[in-house]
């Protein structure tokens, strides 16, 4: 397991470096300049560039950039909040995004596991049809459509949940964003759990466990749930990506003060340093979570540890 992990970590770090290089190169190609103010004279622009270190050769800039990024210094914002370190912009926003993301992941996973197991055990026609429609909608319809739907029905018409994020009640007012984001998670996990659980229920070892007179609750937890979880972990990665993308729009819709909202503001106000820094944060977050999922996969499925490829 140690060797596998070491290789996996080395790959992750090299990917992070490549991403840094790409981000840096992109920054060089960005149209316009952060100093777009027409009132600035040539000398003023030159002195601004000097103070930000933008007059140095590209290679020097690149290594300074990597050094800074690794120290956790993401640079300063040019136009959203001039001269404010981006890290301080993130400090308050990051927890909000993480909380909404993880709550929707957890809520969606639990709901999906329950639905999938129910559909696998009770195989009546009505449950099958309802389950199929639910999962189809959850997978096919993007989360922002759900967000629109909920914000009009639950928020505007029925007035159950607040339509915008509220600092005074962060949990209650993030209910709708979480609901909208978790539906796709629920659908994907539900579908995988059902097909896996159906296979596991039919398998010989569950049959054997049943004939030995084991309690059915033990069978469900120890055999069926654990073995159904393996593929579920693999889909988590792709779910995470869709959560990241979805959260960007949803944060904007519900005015959630998270990093998604910050990114959209930065894009519309041409604050490239913030866009690049946030891209790095998103990529790093993504890579770290992928690494964690791989380790989890290792723990749940011993075949990976032994170097064999999981089927």
């Amino acid at each position: 397991m140690g060797r596998y992990l070491r290789r996996r970590i080395i790959i992750s770090i090299s990917i992070l470096f490549v991403i840094l290089l790409i981000l840096f190169l992109l920054m060089q190609f960005m149209p316009g300049s952060p100093f777009n103010d027409a009132k600035l004279s040539e000398e003023q622009v030159a002195s601004l560039k000097e103070s930000y270190g933008l007059d140095k050769p590209v290679i020097v800039q690149f290594f300074r950039y990597i050094g800074k990024m690794l120290k956790g210094d993401l640079g300063v914002s040019y136009s959203i909040a001039p001269n404010t370190p981006i890290t301080s912009l993130l400090v308050n926003r990051f927890p909000v995004t993480l909380r909404i993301g993880f709550l929707s992941l957890i809520f969606g996973t639990l709901a999906g596991l329950t639905l999938g197991l129910i559909a696998a055990f009770f195989r009546s026609r009505i449950i099958k049809v309802i389950f199929n429609i639910l999962t189809l909608l959850g997978i096919a319809v993007p989360s922002y459509m759900f967000a629109m739907f909920f914000s009009w029905t639950l928020g505007y018409k029925c007035n159950i949940f607040p339509m915008l994020y509220d600092f005074r009640s962060p949990m209650f007012s993030s209910a709708m964003p979480i609901l909208a984001l978790s539906l796709s998670v629920m659908a994907v996990i539900g579908q995988f759990t059902r097909s896996e659980a159906e296979d596991v229920i039919k398998s010989d070892y569950v049959l054997l466990a049943k004939t030995t007179g084991m309690k059915s609750s033990t069978i469900i937890i120890k055999y069926i749930l654990r073995n159904s979880l393996i593929p579920v972990i693999t889909v988590m990665a792709s779910l995470l990506v869709s959560l990241l993308t979805g959260s960007l729009v949803i944060e904007k819709m519900f005015a959630v003060p998270g990093i998604g909202g910050l990114l959209t503001t930065a894009i519309s106000s041409n604050d490239y340093s913030v866009v690049i820094a946030l891209s790095f944060v998103y990529s790093a977050l993504y890579i770290v979570v992928m690494l964690i999922l791989d380790i989890l996969y290792c723990v749940v499925d011993p075949r990976v540890r032994l170097g064999g490829k999981p089927s």
Binding site: P31, I139, A140, V141, Y156, I267, S268, Y286
Partner: protein
């Protein structure tokens, strides 16, 4: 004592069989796998429903904008924000162009058509805040989104399929290097790639297609590589290799026809994801430039008016949901049929 009997062959020993052709019964005929697949696909009700939805949507995207008597970008500033009025239903009191408006003094029902004295014209989906016909715009948006999605998917297919086939077929060092490249590109979140690219490029249809292409081909190449790995060890490919067939022959004649099933499924899945990303870019403010219309820009406009004029959101949202559901139903049907 046994007599030694010498056997003399006779003419009746070997009689040629009657020259009749035996017709094969349907259970004996060998049909191609494609034929089989088609049968299994059409046996599923949901898949057929999806296909019908997609066919209808494509038809509407082609002829929809011309069905309306108004042009899709024809601005009429005296007819802004008209609610929907449908010719036949209006006389029954449904969708007759009246709208409930919340004012500080309470809710009032207003019929803007009567106020403006429009009697013989109908806006089935209403008009937007510049007085443009939403009916024509909705289908024009569908057309633009479909064009973007199809173009991105075709390019993805070309790049991804070739990459995957080369990587899977030649194997060895080629495969290792090509897969490490995929590992790296694949671990940059699509969201980041698309966002950054849209910042560098000028907004417009071409740049959206390029942005979608950069992120979409990876999945296509993974799938074609996996399929090639499965197919290339099969007997008929080995037979072709033993007979001295060239790589080109093996790839195009032996392998390609047998991986199309999986690829078509992936195509059906990458169309909705392209439509999704296009709408996503519009929301973030990086989508199609102002003035043009696509499902994404229509949805963004509709949502910004959602509390005042919900009718602006409903048609586009319905088209979007139908498109997504249709594609997924067909993809699911294809997947089941090819298994």
């Amino acid at each position: 004592m046994a007599e030694n009997v010498i056997y003399t062959p006779q003419d009746t020993d070997f009689v040629p069989a009657a020259k009749e052709r035996k017709e094969l019964t349907s259970s004996e005929t060998v049909t191609g796998s494609k034929n089989d697949m088609r049968k299994r696909f059409f046996a599923q009700k949901s898949a057929v429903a999806g296909l019908v939805i997609l066919a209808l949507l494509t038809l509407l995207a082609v002829i929809g904008p011309y069905l309306s008597s108004h042009d899709y970008d024809d601005q009429q500033l005296d007819r802004t924000n008209l609610p929907p009025r449908v010719p036949w239903l209006a006389s029954m009191g449904i969708l007759d162009g009246s709208e409930k408006i919340n004012k500080t003094s309470g809710a009032v029902t207003v019929n803007r058509y009567e106020e403006l004295g429009i009697t013989d014209e109908y806006y089935i989906f209403g008009t937007d805040n510049l007085g443009r016909d939403m009916f024509a715009r909705a289908f024009m948006g569908l057309r633009v989104s479909l064009i973007i999605a199809l173009a991105a998917t075709v390019i993805n297919l070309l790049i991804g399929m070739n990459y995957g086939i080369i990587s899977g077929y030649f194997g060895g060092m080629t495969d290792i290097i090509m897969q490490r490249i995929i590992d790296i590109i694949g671990s940059i979140p699509t969201l980041v790639v698309v966002t950054l690219l849209m910042l560098v490029l000028q907004p417009g249809m071409g740049s959206i297609i390029i942005a979608l292409m950069l992120s979409g081909w990876i999945e296509m190449s993974r799938i074609s590589r996996a399929e090639v790995l499965k197919v290339k060890e099969l007997e008929y490919v080995q037979a072709a290799r033993t007979l001295g067939a060239s790589h080109r022959h093996i790839i195009f004649r032996e392998i390609m026809p047998n991986i199309t099933g999986k690829l078509v499924t992936q195509i059906m899945l990458s169309i909705p994801s392209a439509v999704f990303l296009e709408a996503f870019l519009s929301f973030v403010g990086l989508g199609m430039p102002a003035g043009s219309c696509s499902l994404g820009t229509m949805l963004t406009d509709g949502f910004s008016n959602v509390l005042l004029h919900i009718y602006k959101l409903i048609p586009t949202a319905t088209l979007m949901v139908l498109l997504m559901v249709g594609c997924h139903l067909v993809a699911k049907g294809l997947k089941k049929a090819s298994e």
